[in-house]
């Protein structure tokens, strides 16, 4: 037996474990006809307000539920519970993103079968969530009008990993002199062809259009459309 070092080929994705769990989740969701939407954005973009309004609007006509990730507190779950939809908080401790296994654990004991929509609100972070597939059908990246139109250029990876961009807090657009054309151009620079929808969860402007977009998405897709690469 020789102690000479040797080089062996492996060729495996480092996030193989996450991808395996995400694939199993996606298979399960599709089998049950559950359409899964994840939300990513920086902290304070309005994910929770937007989600609360979506849950409230959809609940009379669809079975909806939500998982919400934060480093600490159950505050968001408490807020979302006002929509009367089933909600579960995932507290990640010091981890800055959600991983597929956290979704799997959170769903343990939950019968997702009857659901039409499951929403997953990621930790507010525009960097790390981009690497982790959560088994979702549609990844929304939110950008509020108060954040600056060049955010997509600063965080191209997350915008590139998303399927749809949602511009939030439209009611403040005038006050902050939001340049919608520039935002649109920047989003499409990092993700050509990405649909962009603008709305205000507070006033309801654009919400009906967004919900229509969501409810007319094709279900049980063979592959995640628009999303090349690992996702």
């Amino acid at each position: 037996m020789s102690a000479e070092p040797r080089l062996v080929e492996v060729r495996k994705n480092v996030l193989k474990q996450n991808d395996i769990v995400a694939r199993a989740l996606r298979d399960g969701f599709r089998k049950n006809g559950v359409f899964v939407v994840s939300l990513v954005s920086s902290p304070g973009t309005g994910k929770t307000t937007f989600l609360e309004k979506m849950l409230t609007s959809l609940r009379p006509r669809a079975k909806v539920a939500a998982l919400v990730g934060d480093l600490a507190t159950e505050n968001d779950a408490a807020r979302l519970a006002r929509s009367l939809a089933p909600v579960k908080q995932i507290t990640t401790g010091t981890i800055c993103h959600l991983e597929a296994a956290m979704i799997q654990n959170a769903l343990r004991g939950w019968d997702v079968g009857p659901l039409d929509f499951l929403f997953i609100e990621n930790v507010g972070n525009l960097v790390c969530p981009s690497s982790y597939d959560l088994g979702e059908d549609l990844r929304l990246v939110l950008l509020s009008v108060t954040e600056g139109e060049d955010k997509p250029l600063k965080y191209p990876t997350i915008f590139n990993s998303a399927d749809v961009a949602v511009i939030t807090k439209l009611d403040l657009a005038e006050a902050v002199e939001f340049d919608a054309a520039a935002a649109d151009k920047n989003i499409r620079a990092v993700r050509p062809g990405m649909p962009v929808l603008s709305l205000s969860a507070k006033t309801g402007q654009g919400m009906a259009e967004f919900l229509e977009f969501l409810e007319t998405r094709p279900r049980n897709r063979e592959a995640v459309a628009l999303s090349p690469g690992s996702r």
Binding site: M1, S2, A3, E4, P5, R6, L7, V8, E9, V10, R11, K12, N13, V14, L15, K16, Q17, N18, I95, C96, H97, E99, V127, C128, S130, S131, P152, L153, P156, T157, I158, N160, S161, N186, R188, A189, V190, R191, P192, G193, M194, L226, P228, G229, S230
Partner: protein, 115 residues
Amino acid sequence: MHELSIAISIVDLAAEEAALRGSAQVLAVHLRLGSLSGVVKEALLSCYEMACARTPLEGSQLLIEEVPLEVFCPECQAGRRIASLEPLCCPACGTPCSEVIRGKELELVALEITA
């Protein structure tokens, strides 16, 4: 900053693969890292030693091959290398390109092990 989680995933996968090959010790890990992977090389390198502590990878080296971004241009019908992450446009004809061919890699390519 999720590079520590990524470093731990690398160590776990490398240890598993080394054990499958009956190896006692891993000397080096060869990784391919795409520029659109969402992982920063320097941050990953600085976490690596910590992730290796008290594992069969303790003392091993992480060797990173960076993979530049390459997109498919529907106009030129060809793969095009892109220097920065934006805009995702063909450097030859300026057409926006949404199809990423290369650059999302986070792949453990090979291990240097002792038998």
